[in-house]
């Protein structure tokens, strides 16, 4: 049983014009086995929340805490957070020329597990995980994210998730740029991971369509750097029919 606890989190982005506050007091607890959807309009800061949890150097936390099972996450480096059991599936995964998917996954797994997996069993493990996501085995020989389609990038993110088996998964707009088929495959891959590991999930999304495949236990509306309303899955239906306008009101929207 793991708990990611975010308490009154304030964070700013570092810009040329000085720091600019984006997160303005986020409080949220995600435990194993539960799936939280964080939904909000563009520019509300919901992706920033994902990056701050992962430790992206562009952001600075000015107040509040994040703990994983009581341990201070903010004191950890990016790689320490990942090894502690946090995983961020990125919206825009970067290309890494000359680093094959195979070597990347193996190096990640070695870091996560504390020792290099045996080559032969590793190859099978990787192949099986790729099968679930309907990925061609030749994919492993390509360079990380280089020339990947939108769908391939997201499958690759979920592939990592399924191999690294984090305690808490954060999915940042994993549905963006996916057609219906790809969304279904990616969602099924994620659901298989969730079922197998019982991980907790923070699912960040702008649209409700991914929630047809990945069912949340809780839905949070995120506006202007904080959660303005929380509820069950029915809140997603409200957002689907009414949009975000009711929640945005006249609040200034961070861009």
């Amino acid at each position: 049983m793991s708990t990611l606890a975010i308490n009154d989190l304030h964070a700013s982005v570092l810009t040329d014009g000085g720091p600019r506050e984006i997160l303005r007091g986020v409080t949220l607890t995600v435990t194993s086995g539960s799936t939280h959807a964080v939904m909000g309009p563009n520019g509300s800061g919901k992706s920033t929340l994902a990056y701050v949890i992962a430790g992206h150097p562009k952001y600075v936390v000015t107040a509040g805490t994040i703990t994983l099972d009581g341990v201070d996450v903010l004191a950890m480096t990016v790689d320490e957070r990942a090894r502690a059991g946090l995983f961020l599936a990125m919206q825009y995964p970067v290309e890494i020329p000359g680093v094959s998917v195979s070597n990347f996954l193996r190096t990640s797994a070695t870091a996560a597990r504390g020792e290099a997996p045996k080559l032969r069993t590793w190859m099978k493990e990787m192949k099986d995980a790729m099968g679930v996501l309907q990925m061609d085995p030749a994919f492993a020989e390509r360079n990380v994210n280089e020339g990947f389609s939108g769908g391939e990038k997201k499958r690759h993110e979920i592939l990592q998730l399924s191999l690294l088996k984090p305690k808490i998964a954060i999915l940042d707009e994993t549905d963006s740029g996916l057609d219906v088929d790809a969304l279904r495959v990616v969602s099924e891959g994620f659901n298989a991971f969730r079922e197998e590991t019982g991980a907790g999930t923070l699912l960040i999304t702008h649209y409700t369509r991914i929630l047809r495949y990945i069912h949340p236990d809780y839905v949070h509306v995120f506006v202007d750097g904080r959660i303005v309303e929380s509820g069950g899955p029915e809140l997603a239906s409200v957002l689907e029919s009414e949009g975000y306008e009711r929640f945005v009101g006249n609040a200034p929207v961070a861009s």
Binding site: V94, G98, N103, S108, A112, L164
Partner: protein, 379 residues
């Protein structure tokens, strides 16, 4: 002295000569020397009767003979450093592959300087319709200047690597003139890791139509090293191709790399296809990379002619992505730098030497040797 015909704007050398006095001592203001720390190279620019020979162990296709200027290959010195090396050369290391011979195993030439300051003459000739791989290993320990005079016969196919590695205190100055025969193929790779000041000048000319030359380079500079590569490809035959790809990674205060790529397409070289590229990866703020591609076309009747150059900083987003998967920062950096070189090393034409060079780069990056082997195994 032989005057070389060249149009007035051309960057190609004007002169080929074996007389030292034909080349003035460079001051550092000349175009060809403007980046170089001439003072640190001075020891190899002044003739010195006491220079030692550079030899190699004889072996299949390899022999060592007294240097004979009358039988020294297709090339004559084109600058001060080259002419001093020529005048001081005692031995010639010869690699001779007869015509119509296919050599499977790489022919490895380990150069050995017989004194602290030495001059080398390596003379490689691949007979018509032969195929071979030649590796020239130059692992320092001495200040060395010299030439790798390379001749690829008609229809022959030569894969060649010149590796400069070893201690970081020596000065090295090399010319690598390759003449590519009719319909011949040449892949020449320069791997520069060692030395304190290294000036390496690969050049290509074509002896007939239809030749194909690929020049590749990988250099890794740190801790104040100066590594300079100047490439000159002269197209004066029709239907020839050239492809030049050099990549460098550098770090450390005072570290400086220079890449100058000159491609000249003469009027008679119709249907030329040429491309040259240099990419440099700055690993920190202390190092400096100069990159100067020059393409000179005297005919518009070409298939394709282009060049590109880019020098960039280490991408922090790549680092974040790898670290977000649990990979420690130092390992993430090693992966990215290794990856930067992999594509060029995958083209050197020898999988065995690709691995050897990758291991040496891994070593320089401080990678765990088992980790490097593991990466190779999984590839």
């Amino acid at each position: 002295m032989t005057s070389l015909t060249a149009p007035p704007m051309d960057l190609a050398p004007r002169l080929a000569s074996t007389a030292i006095d034909d080349f003035a001592m460079p001051t550092g203001r000349e175009e060809a020397w403007r980046f170089a720390p001439v003072d640190r190279l001075a020891g190899l620019l002044e003739p010195d009767g006491g220079s030692a020979a550079v030899v190699a162990d004889p072996g299949p296709f390899i022999s060592v003979v007294d240097f004979d200027p009358e039988d020294a290959g297709h090339w004559r010195p084109t600058d001060r450093g080259a002419v001093v090396a020529w005048a001081g050369a005692r031995s010639a290391v010869q690699v001779r592959v007869p015509a119509e011979t296919l050599v499977d195993e790489p022919i490895v030439v380990r150069l050995q300087a017989q004194g602290p300051r030495a001059h080398a003459h390596v003379d490689v000739r691949i007979g018509a319709h032969s195929r071979a791989t030649v590796v020239v290993l130059n692992e320092g320990g001495s200040d060395v200047s010299g030439a790798l005079v390379t001749e690829i016969g008609d229809g022959a196919d030569l894969t060649m690597l010149s590796v400069i590695d070893g201690p970081r205190e020596n000065v090295q100055m090399w010319h690598w003139p390759a003449r590519v025969g009719r319909d011949a193929r040449f892949t020449g790779s320069t791997i520069t890791l060692g030395g304190s000041v290294v000036r390496n000048l690969p050049s290509v000319t074509y002896a007939g139509p239809g030749g194909a030359a690929t020049l590749l380079g990988a250099f890794l500079a740190d801790a104040g090293q100066y590594l300079e590569h100047r490439i000159l490809v002269t197209h004066d035959q029709p239907h020839c191709t050239s492809s030049v790809v050099y990549k460098g990674a550098l770090s450390g205060a005072g570290t400086h790399t220079v890449w100058v790529g000159d491609v000249v397409v003469r009027r008679e070289a119709v249907a030329t296809d040429t491309y040259e590229m240099n990419r440099n990866l700055l690993l920190d703020d202390g190092a400096r990379a100069d990159s100067v591609p020059n393409l000179e076309l005297e005919t518009g009747d070409v298939v394709s002619a282009g060049h590109a150059s880019a020098t960039g900083r280490f991408d922090d987003e790549q680092l974040f992505y790898l670290q977000a998967r649990g990979i420690p920062e130092a390992v993430a950096r090693q992966l990215v730098v290794r990856g930067f070189f992999v594509d060029v090393l995958s083209r050197v034409g020898s999988s065995q030497w690709r691995s050897i060079v990758l291991s040496r780069i891994a070593d320089r990056l401080g990678m765990d040797p088992d980790f490097e082997l593991d990466l190779e195994a999984a590839e």
